[in-house]
Subunit: 247 residues, 6 copies
């Protein structure tokens, strides 16, 4: 059930049965010469819809732009600052908590969002508790990273080994190929690829990772792999969501 | 050309030819008993894609949540605060301006966003000018409201007269029916409908507009009307975008 | 009744009879070669006092500086940022609401304030509602632009036609001449005047409007016209205030 | 020379001769049963105009609302928060510094503003220095409290001794009587008056100072005294301003 | 009793007997060629511990970094901005007030902190009052400057006369020598020393006070003097704390 | 070399040889019935000093209060909000970067700080890059958690196995016992201990972890263990610091 395709009265009815909601969050950032700028949002959205269908959960609209400041030396990247995201998450949760939602399950497509999301959850809890709303202490937020699902990691290791890398990975590229086969990019990739450098500011990042990839070989990706990743993630996160919402 | 389906190198190439970008912005808010909560985002996104195709412009991912605080007494509504939106817009424009974009064309689906967007633009200009980036004084933002296109207003008047109202209108509902025919809602509407009250806070709003509609009769909407609105808006905004980007 | 010339006990007594208050808001910005920098504040203040007298309403001190960022390339302009104004308005309304005021009627002298004021009102409502003050949902803010009064527009059209323009207009200059006849400026104006350009940042604004006027010919202004504008605005806004406060 | 009664070209000419500006700052707060709510703003404004005339300095519009949070349990008080004032001062100084002003002389009518003003100056300096504007290190702000002028203190001591107190004092009431003789209030004052308590929050303040006075007997004030205070303050601050602006 | 060496259950027991807490606040800033960068924090911490022992009061961990923006042109200085400190103090007081503390006694080692602390207290009171916590109006904050104790001033005058100066003073240097005799610095000092200049931004400050001292001769300091200052301050502030906490 | 025991001229000399600095960051939060509230700050500070000695690095004063909002239902806990910490870190790094520091090595004693520190680093990088300081892209921040050192984890596993738990652990308690043997607490611990629950808000946390421990048995701690942890951490982090600063 998609929030955007529902009416407020349908949401009112839904709340009689469940106080859980799935919030896809991605990023708008370079993903190397062949990865889509929307990769992280596309993956999070597709998997969220899959989990929503499997669990009859409500799915919020996708947060398309996340914390990608270190990618901003590449054109096309858009990033919020952490302090902005903290306010955004607080606003989302506050509105939905007012309506009766209690369990916020963020399906996340971007590693760079994790730290800021956790900071935002802490800020949101204290915000709600201080307002002394009766329900404040019942609000719970969780971040679920599809790319860290046990089966996903296992599959990526089997298919790509070392060439999975850590950004613009074949696994995420495969998933976008499965979802948007019409947008598969074929561009020659240099054999050398930046690898193993710590992440600091944007200028530094581009210096160390000149084509945007981090140790990955996305040329290995296929839409068929993408489907496998999709199914593994949906299955695992569906169980995880149900466990969360029923705890 | 959709930013989310492009690579950073494609964006780099695009910037050689154009410094313009289209940014769809909607809202996630109640639209009466039959209107979709995502109405404003859905309409802005569809029309943006249409304008993008017609003008070969780059289209950013949709800003799904806007300024809908006055709707938050209805479940399912999510709103950012104006102060949050100001930061969000500043972050978007700053990132894209750094990459070389100069003309930001926001295609907007929600009247409640207009004031805050204008405030955000002002805040963004001074932010960029103070940093003394060479390009700061070239950055220009514009908001284009599809529902205020001359042809759209004319058509709505012809089709619905007084029953167009000002929220959960048949014209926007028709447009969503055209885009998502599978999500057409049929629910009996009360004959009486709130009308003509000024907008203050959320509690007050729900008191005056008990089912969420503002003077509208969305039962008049059809997908065929929706197509007409779509075409009128795409045509008019395409011209407007080209004029903006070439000025 | 002027707040600044009252005691707190007089305010306490006033609140027994009315929960309304008038807040003049202007701007401190260039108004072309002959317009006073204080034009918008002067006009808002004078008309507010007139409305206060006509309706026995309390009048707050004038907010002299508003949202005039686009004028800051001209010396003498002072502007708050939208994010600052949002905090200022929230602070004003919160203090006065705590004392029992419920109806906030901002008489505004500057078009550039409107969007930010609306954003500020929304931010203030949610701020008060979240604190769960009993009275939060009764607080109502309204912005009344004297220069958009029906009679004012009509009179400006009759007197100046096209030469009214949209900034440093003869109507507002006339009004300041009526209020401060000792500060009438006589300076030759160039025949050419910037006109019809959209407003972006401050540098851009000055480039397009080199002497600060926007399509106006303030040389047409006379103090006698000013008096007519004053009387028309006071009359119309007095009715509007009473309607608001009694609704 | 009043900024509000000048044109931008007159300001441009002024800047050729001086980079100094006087900014009156007051407060909108209870001043006991006979003191005007606008006392601090009225005094600061009148003295600023006097100093401006004596020194040919430009005088900005009055900041009517300051830091009076501890008075907000009395109706009619309006206060900004310190964090808001910091932004307001930063905005004022930034705009004026951009135009070429370097010496900011705040003539202050309210003791409660001093700490926040100092904090705001520090925040403003670092803000300007970080932007690396060439002129940043030349910007200087100073707060001058008329009620702490040597001659003012001496006169108050001679006229009122212990009954001067520290809020709603006869000296400031006298000054408003001189400026607005038509607004002299005559109300019996209780013989007992709160005195010597430290200042914490608003509720606590009203508990300790039930009629708003702090150890003062404003019944001693006369308009003639007011004139003496006015003249002493204008003389002393004129010298102080010239010293500042010429240093 | 040091908070950092206590358990939460010991704090719980303490709160049965007292709702007071001592919070040392210093600064991390240059103190001339022989003064320690930690001088203000070291002094505040040592004296706080002494007062805590004498009065059986709980002592919080030291706030090591304060408002020292004007010293930031000297390497080693770290400063928070006033707006940051306001948030820090609000967070501290809010957490401790939630646990039951009511009396917050800040023992301060740096003149530059005073204004910002006062602003922060005001901001904190209104924050707590608006949340309508029952205890909000009982929260009281006070700043106690050890260097302004009557006996300390007297002693400094006797020992150093004019050479005490106002920054990097022999009295504070003596106190650090008493606490850290192993860190006594011996460096020749120029005979000339900056003196009497007002404080503006950091660049200006270093221009006027080239070696960081303000009119002081810290070569006069001895550890024995330091002990005298320590004892005088602990005695006076112990009385002051008890008076505060029992009022 | 401790920043607090140095002069600014010593720091100036240090910068000729190194641009690295160690910043200890802890927390002020409950650590169960026998753990010190200052545990995380005490450990971070002691290890930082050890690393500073071993590597001749400068050590900043300890950040005593971190992100411990989830512990605030236990008395004695003090926490900053994530948004406050972001500002604090930005202020620290900005000041020190201005003086020439480039490598910021945060030795951290509290798991709850990690996410917020990462967010703060990102916010700081973009802040510095936008100001276009020449050195901005050279600034690098890193967080090093002593409790996650390989040898520390191994030792904790050997000594305590499952009873190490994840908060108020015997390893951190042991370390504080080594540093402050005079503050060893002996209190009977319940056999049952909360374990394995996710962390949400403060009220929820105390409900699930009633005595503050998370699956740990701190009764196993001894000062001798503490010394072993200390030495292991100092050794490993010294290497890590040198690698960082020389990279």
């Amino acid at each position: 059930m998609l929030l955007h395709l529902s009416t407020w009265q349908e949401v009112e009815a839904y709340l009689q049965q469940s106080q859980g909601i799935i919030l896809p969050i991605g990023s708008t950032e370079q993903h190397g010469p062949t990865g889509l700028i929307g990769t992280d949002a596309i993956c999070a959205e597709a998997i969220s819809k899959g989990v929503g269908e499997a669990t009859h959960a409500l799915v919020a609209p996708t947060i398309n732009v996340g914390m990608a400041l270190h990618h901003t030396a590449f054109p096309g990247t858009i990033s919020l600052r952490p302090s902005t995201i903290i306010q955004v998450i607080r606003d989302y949760v506050t509105c939905l908590a007012k309506a009766g939602f209690r369990k916020f399950y963020f399906i996340n497509g971007h590693g760079g969002n994790i730290a800021t999301l956790k900071a935002a959850f802490s800020e949101t809890y204290v915000y709600l508790e201080e307002l002394q709303n009766g329900h404040a202490s019942l609000v719970q937020c969780q971040v679920a990273n599809w790319f860290m699902c046990r089966e996903v990691l296992k599959l990526a290791h089997e298919l790509y080994g070392d060439q999975e890398g850590s950004h613009a990975t074949p696994s995420e590229v495969a998933l976008t190929q499965y979802i948007y086969p019409e947008a598969i990019k074929v561009v020659p990739l240099s054999e050398e690829v930046g690898k193993g450098h710590k992440i600091y500011g944007a200028t530094d990042f581009r210096r160390r990772y000149p084509d945007g990839r981090m140790g990955s070989n996305p040329a290995l990706a296929t839409p068929e792999h993408g489907q496998q990743f999709y199914e593994a993630a949906v299955k695992e996160l569906s169980n995880s969501y149900l466990e969360f919402v029923n705890s």
